[in-house]
Assembly symmetry: C2
Homo-oligomer: 346 residues x 2
Amino acid sequence: SRSINLAVIPGDGIGQEVVAEGLKVLAAALPQETKLETKEYDFGAKRYHATGQTLTDADLAELKAHDAILLGAIGDPSVPSGVLERGFLLKLRFAFDHFVNLRPSKLLPGVGTPLAGSPDIDFVVVREGTEGPYTGNGGAIRTGTPAEVATEVSLNTAYGIERVVRDAYARAQARPRKKLTLVHKNNVLVHAGGLWTRIFQEVGREYPEVTTDYLHVDATMIFLVTQPERFDVIVTDNLFGDIVTDLAAAVSGGIGVAASGNINPSGEFPSMFEPVHGSAPDIAGQSKADPTATVLSVALLLRHLGYDAEADRIDAAVRTDLAERAGGPARSTVEIGDALAARVAG
Amino acid sequence: SRSINLAVIPGDGIGQEVVAEGLKVLAAALPQETKLETKEYDFGAKRYHATGQTLTDADLAELKAHDAILLGAIGDPSVPSGVLERGFLLKLRFAFDHFVNLRPSKLLPGVGTPLAGSPDIDFVVVREGTEGPYTGNGGAIRTGTPAEVATEVSLNTAYGIERVVRDAYARAQARPRKKLTLVHKNNVLVHAGGLWTRIFQEVGREYPEVTTDYLHVDATMIFLVTQPERFDVIVTDNLFGDIVTDLAAAVSGGIGVAASGNINPSGEFPSMFEPVHGSAPDIAGQSKADPTATVLSVALLLRHLGYDAEADRIDAAVRTDLAERAGGPARSTVEIGDALAARVAG
Ligand SMILES: CC(C)[C@H](C(=O)O)[C@@H](O)C(=O)O
Ligand SMILES: CC(C)[C@H](C(=O)O)[C@@H](O)C(=O)O
């Protein structure tokens, strides 16, 4: 009999509501012999206001002792923009070396898309999570004056790129179409782009069955709305990945159903799973939020921990639920969670 | 009587074909008393292969003597990726201080969009053109080894941001909705994002009638496909502008109709007008390319030089042509150009 020791961080706004449903479905999915232990942490706006802290070294040490982390959403209008994003979310991703930011995009039956027709969307983005323009490197001089100069430095290492590119190849290899697209802007960002391109080609030699191609990030925008079927697995840097995955989520059903994993494949640190959406303070506390993205993130979490059959059951439940939901009356956060849990258990 | 002294750079691939039609429509639009002098330059792949050069100081001095530049497209598979982009296109934009990269997005009647429904799209992106991650700043050490580190530095100055932000406010002020959106990622890129945000707010005090808002670049992706009506004028940095404008073009009729201007508002250097599309070598020489984007770029050119009535006539001709074209048989590049020229002249 196995056990899962889970750190739960509901966070702010709708985070609380969607995480409750995620946990409900998780409990329903697990085999009876698996012991689920959860510990809740109050990171986010409340702790920040109470203590001025976002995530301390002691917090990190405590979180590290878990098998995985389930996160709702962090962010509140009462906290200056960027403080919680950098002080909590990015700090955690970097501290726990979450170099694979995994974001699947699959347009499920019954789910609306802003695109015309019924595009066949089923791809996954492997976004690098620990480098690029996200390192906080840069600065400013003559701040606040008309002579201010500000820089942002994108840091890219062969070490960091190789490991995420290898992960992406392995994922492409395991999928029926076996296709991997590198997205960058190597005609302008020649230093970083050259390094990404070289490593992409080098690692590719180890995966002769995987078909590869390269797209500039700007051209990727066009294909994502005109021909999303062309994508199978995309690998890209931290900032391009941030941009590409929001568009990918938008065309494949919206952020209400977009799941993500912040993965440390070596297992040295716990991986963290979270919906792509934010804390949506405008609808918080009204049981209006769709918990589906969190439930799908729970499926990614289970898959990461080796509970493939359980993850499959959750995915199937979501699929059926979304198809039946189409055209029906709006349901509350709790109603959707209950329905999914019942399906998964049944 | 006035005169226009125009440098014409057809470039590679379909550039030749679309520029020929652009010039045809330009000639048809100009009042008889306006003298149009054009000089053609062979920049692009051919010159690169013949001389190894992309754009010399002597070339720049010669180009500077013109009132404006009309560019088709630069780029060919026979030239390594990036060489012409940086050696010609970016070099010219930087040398001629084209700090306003103007890209209007308007979904015209009869034009297809990948979006469902019939969204009302009519906005313009003011993309900064001389700073950000496009300066070539950065480098690599231990190149080609497993220990390589590569950087890209985004350079942002109060000087450079203020002038483009002021231009964007003036454009917003002149439009009926008077709305300006700053797009950045200031929760992560705090140094550059802080500078953009500060200047956006400061300059905004001079334009009390303009409504402003701020969007992260990732959220912008979502709104561009779910709610493109929300945008009126967008101002953003060089790289975000590159990404946003390709998506904007895709949702508002595709790159076949996307025009752009690389503008030096002070008039110290000639401004350059070009379709957003590339040289499309796969369809070059087959009269398949749509010259509409180039024709609309000619309208931007005329507007820049003060020929507003003539620009209006071109825009109207394109509008009627696109509406009539819908559902009809495919026409050749020359046929579309002829039809537009006839309408503009008539
Ligand atoms: C909140 C923000 C820092 C974060 C990011 O940019 O990575 C978010 O947009 C995401 O995609 O998870
Ligand atoms: C060709 C390339 C250098 C260029 C850019 O990135 O600016 C193009 O994508 C554009 O948008 O005009």
